[in-house]
Symmetry: C2
DNA sequence: TTTATTTTGTACCATTTCGCATAAAATCCT
DNA sequence: AGGATTTTATGCGAAATGGTACAAAATAAA
């Protein structure tokens, strides 16, 4: 059933859509995720979503607009799962929760190792595309901020030293996420990266 | 003058080349570096190198072969500059030297912020291209190994604790390099990244 | 000087890619 | 039932892309 942005059902006038916009965008995102922005053709997106080209165009706009929508969506989902993981009681569990949740996103049954969508595809386009670059950069800064907040919390809870540099800790935490993103796409096995994450958490929280 | 791989001049039979193969490959690499593998056309490479298409084909092969040659070259150069930086007396200087040398490669006068060639372009192709993936992964493993060696040296010199986990330290050192690579291409200013590197070194060597 | 060899430069071809025009289909409103 | 509205489906066309054929040019060897 078609819904508006409040989630309530809406009576549309003409022929009903044959697709779910959110699901279609997720399929398009997966295609970009696998092949990169430049490496993905509209024909592939059309095949992945099951939508024909004019429907894609009407729903999302041109290729770049589809990608930008997928990119914004990715950050929203990423931040949501991150917040959930950071909610853990102990700092170590919170950090490891973020890394485990990320890894389960970086490895899939269907596509195998694909890494982080932003690191694997948006960063590549960031030299030529100003808007993609800004969205990527803002997202990374948000990661830093969320980690920093969590370290501050741990600091007040006495889990880490009162004189610890929470900003520096946050940078290392994001750096760990970045290395997981890069290495998973470059073929390092998931189990090895899980061990890497554990070691990194131990180093950061020492 | 044309040279063979030993560097000695060679008398070739027919019409002499109008280009220097090494310089041309560097130009092609810069084009790939900026736009990514899929985002770079042979016309752009032709323009960047000043070579016409048949000459490119004769010298390096097809588009993918040009890219692979550039990729292998990049690692060779990267490892060489890294070895030089790691030669520094004090551990902190060695690490910071690696990061500073990397940043000066990640930012250019001509193209601005472009990040690391491997992280910015090869990682993207790594899902679909087995050979690119293996070269990227092997390179990252070499980075880990070089950092680990340097930490072991520092350990023997008494700069870090005897019970320190040098492998874990190396992972964090490479993670820092990865975050510099990602963030520089995503538009974080060079000065900010230099501060990030300093903080990371302080955290790692604490 | 002539011949053999290698590279260059122009042009071309087949394919892919992107976007859109147009008509048919499916629904709502009167 | 009939018109209005929205989406779907087929297919087209211009441009870009990767690769190569072929003749002219430049050099070394004979």
């Amino acid at each position: 059933m078609v819904q508006n942005k409040e989630g309530t059902d809406v009576k549309r006038r003409g022929r009903p859509r044959a697709y779910d916009p959110a699901a279609a965008l997720a399929q398009a995102r997966d295609a970009f995720w696998r092949h990169g922005y430049s490496g993905t053709s509209l024909d592939e997106i059309s095949a992945a979503t099951g939508m024909n080209r004019p429907s894609l165009s009407a729903a999302f706009g041109d290729k770049r607009a589809i990608y930008l929508a997928a990119l914004r969506d990715y950050w929203v989902a990423k931040f949501a799962t991150m917040d959930r993981a950071l909610d853990a009681e102990r700092l170590q569990d919170a950090l490891l929760g973020v890394y485990d949740a990320s890894l389960s996103l970086y490895f899939t049954e269907a596509d195998g190792a694909r890494g982080c969508f932003v690191v694997g595809t948006a960063v590549t386009e960031s030299v030529d595309d100003h808007e993609i670059r800004e969205i990527a950069k803002a997202g990374f800064n948000t990661l830093d901020a969320k980690f920093a907040d969590r370290f501050r919390l741990a600091q007040h809870a006495g889990e880490i030293a009162r004189e610890a540099d929470v900003e520096a800790l946050a940078l290392l935490a994001t750096a760990t996420l970045h290395t997981l993103a890069v290495r998973s796409r470059a073929g390092t096995p998931c189990e090895e990266l899980r061990r890497l994450a554990r070691k990194a958490v131990a180093m950061i929280c020492r």
